[in-house]
Symmetry: C4
Subunit: 279 residues, 4 copies
């Protein structure tokens, strides 16, 4: 899969593409790159996306932004131009790919593809923020681009393995979530009844007590809401101990799912070896 | 198990049932529904139960309830009528099920069944709260109904798998709970001896120190009780580190139990395949 | 092991024992009891030990003790008499056991056994506290007795399984403890250097910063010591994330050890079945 | 590996070494020691290194250092002399090892080896701190020495097993780290938007909200930054619950990797037994 297979280079020039357009096609479209991993151009784009995301994060901090508004605005503009050029490049060079068909008909088909629509949304968000809209969330849309570039090679296999393990055991995981929900409801109801009168702010209703209950069951334990009566502390202790079980359950489920996936892989490999042996 | 088996539809009309009563019977009694999952009517009832539980939660919040007492009371009455009608429907249509016998004799037998008694308790709790009693806990009895409706299909299999894993290793899990109890006692005694004099409110007795000890061993760490002396902090650090072990132990036990259950399922499947092959 | 084997009843009377002494012998010495589990008398003693431990815990609370000093003192005396009688009974009836030899020679040999010496220590602690010594720790010595009574049947098997899993992987577990120690040292040194000047109370030296570091690495997070500078928070965040790894490591090690132990048990069982089949 | 193999003693005297130099060589160089574990001299050096590290830790505490500056300085000097002597000894006796060649040529080759360069760095750090530089980090360089001495026997095998398990699943572990990073970004952005206006100090920008987010996702939960609005608490609760998943994922991955490594070891052992059986 990671090996260089020449068949992954589309027969560009025969398709009417020029040498330069073919070079750009192979460098921009991840699935057209003959080597494993990302092309140098896509690596550069990935770095620029990371820079853009970091900029979006940093720029939300007033002490950093103050006095540098113009600098950040200029940088945003540069980014907008780069991403626009990249999108234009992708649309122009897609004609090299016979799967989409020739000329503008093929380009229009590409523009209606899922990947290209995501690109347009990210681009649009960039220009909207440039026009002055409050754009923290819009800026973070760029993250989506990283996820899409990351669909590659070994990391993709690892992601699939994790996703497979989660999917294999989805009913068990949902069930342990349901058990967690029940515990949340029961413990917050009990604490509301026991501590509600004494601490109306923190335990004065079931929804209020739920805030404490979530923090306890997940073992986060902020400490902003804490029972004060003996009975309340007793119930809280029991909640904390069942919280351990809530952590143990999904962990155990996932561990067994990963173990299983691993063993199946090994067995498949062993079977291959046996089958390929001369008898 | 999830496949539609015609034998699951009871031979209603032959049993003296009308077409309408038979339709209601099949729709109300989960075990009589020929398809997999819940019947449309039972799905609607499940939604109503969820609404009732959410109402019970929301209604405990004074800022929500104030000025809307009549609204909530009306909604409670509607719910009471729906649940009463559902119960009446179940009792009336059970005559379709030959297992309980014909007519009122069969209906009385059904009313003495576990499921029907739970229904009556939940109904009773509804009417008691309507008559003015403080009913937070009574209202949450409805949760029991959801658990009973949930006894279905894949979720049921997942629940059984989790329950099986817990039961398989119940002695190991109880043992790690006993170890946790010992650690709780030892650490709270030590902290009481070391910090008791300096912080009588938080560590002035073993039961008081236990509150800190539970929060530390489960890694919740509220921070409302914290040792201040060097020796106390040293002991607290050791307690926190053993707390990690307390999380690791049940998780490891459950993970191995799930792994085991999975492997047995696979082996059983493989055996089936081998047995069904022509020799 | 749990089945009633008549051979476990020692041939008392032939050994010169009376019927009554034999009855007491079988009821007091757990290993002489023919059935599985504890004898009724030992069950009663276990309950009394639990009561004694609970009393020791409760009595450390001044609000409970105040005005009830005489009551607790009387209860302590009753307990002391019971435990003394039990010890005397054990020593007297051991003559029924041919393994220790006859008469007082056998009784002296029993009194030098590990179990009997523990009994004497617990008894001594009881009488010392009665004579007025501050005895919280002494009182908790009774816990040791529970541990000794618990050495029985299925719980013992479960305990052995857990102990075996821990022992099998002791080098890996010690190694992850060593890694934890290194991380503790590195993170507390860094936080001391970064936050030490600003918060001398909490981070003014490596030992001080260690308190924060333990609470963070174990994910307890009391919140009494928290970094305030940006660099400090960055390092603290990294510490918290490595803390997750510290929890994952021992859990994973233990899970694999339990899994392994389980599989070996199953294989041993399967081998037995295969071996016992007629060929 | 742990067994005493005579071939591990280099043929010193034949190489021109004296008896005394040979004894020192075998005692100082861990790989030359014929028995398993560390030589008595290296054990003593390990203890001295631990003392030096503890001294570095303790000495950072002003209340301990005050009035004892001369004492600590003297101890540091003694340590410097010991470590210098040890290094000189290693260099001098390396001539016993034919792998490095004879005389000063061999010694120079040894001095350019990784181990010896680390030794020089640690020594240099010692002398720099003695010359008055603020040397907390320099002092902790000694830890590196412990790590190097620890490369031995069973602990080394255990370390390798852990490292192997981590390396085997590095893509999955990095992937779950990436997922954690995404969640961190998403949750801190949402909390910044929801709580930023009300609590500018704690949630006034994405980087600020990240501090809360790290503490919540890792279930540390300091409690110094806590959402106050209902929507903020709802999002925080969801973050805490996904935090459980973040703990479960690496734990499950590592557990399956350890399990796998264990099974391969067992299979390798079984194969050995089968192969060695006479047919």
């Amino acid at each position: 899969m990671d090996q260089t297979t020449p068949s992954r280079i589309e027969p560009g020039p025969a398709d009417g593409g020029t040498g330069w357009r073919h070079w750009l096609y192979v460098n921009l479209h991840t699935q057209a790159w003959p080597g494993s991993g990302l092309s140098p151009l896509n690596k550069a784009i990935a770095v620029i996306i990371v820079v853009a995301v970091v900029m979006a994060i940093v720029q939300s901090e007033p002490t950093v932004l103050r006095g540098r508004e113009d600098l950040f605005r200029a940088a945003e503009m540069v980014l907008a131009v780069i991403f626009l050029a990249e999108y234009a490049g992708r649309v122009w060079t897609i004609a090299e790919n016979p799967a989409f068909g020739e000329g503008w008909r093929g380009r229009l088909r590409y523009m209606r593809s899922f990947t290209a629509i995501i690109d347009v949304i990210v681009l649009a968000s960039l220009f909207i923020t440039l026009m002055g809209a409050e754009g923290t969330i819009l800026r973070l849309f760029r993250l989506v681009r990283i996820v899409m570039l990351a669909k590659l090679g070994r990391y993709s296999t690892a992601m699939l393995a994790i996703a497979q393990a989660v999917r294999d055991r989805r009913y068990e995981l949902l069930m342990s979530l349901a058990v967690a929900g029940m515990l949340l409801l029961v413990s917050s109801t009990l604490l509301f009844l026991v501590e509600g009168a004494g601490q109306p702010e923190a335990f004065g209703s079931i929804p209020r007590a739920m805030w404490w209950s979530v923090a306890t069951l997940t073992t986060v334990g902020y400490g902003d809401a804490v029972p004060l009566t003996i009975l309340g502390k007793l119930l809280a202790g029991l909640t904390a101990i069942t919280g351990i079980g809530l952590i143990a359950m999904p962990t155990g489920i996932l561990a067994s799912a990963f173990s299983n996936a691993l063993q199946e892989q090994r067995e498949a490999r062993e079977k291959e070896i046996v089958d390929s042996e001369p008898s």
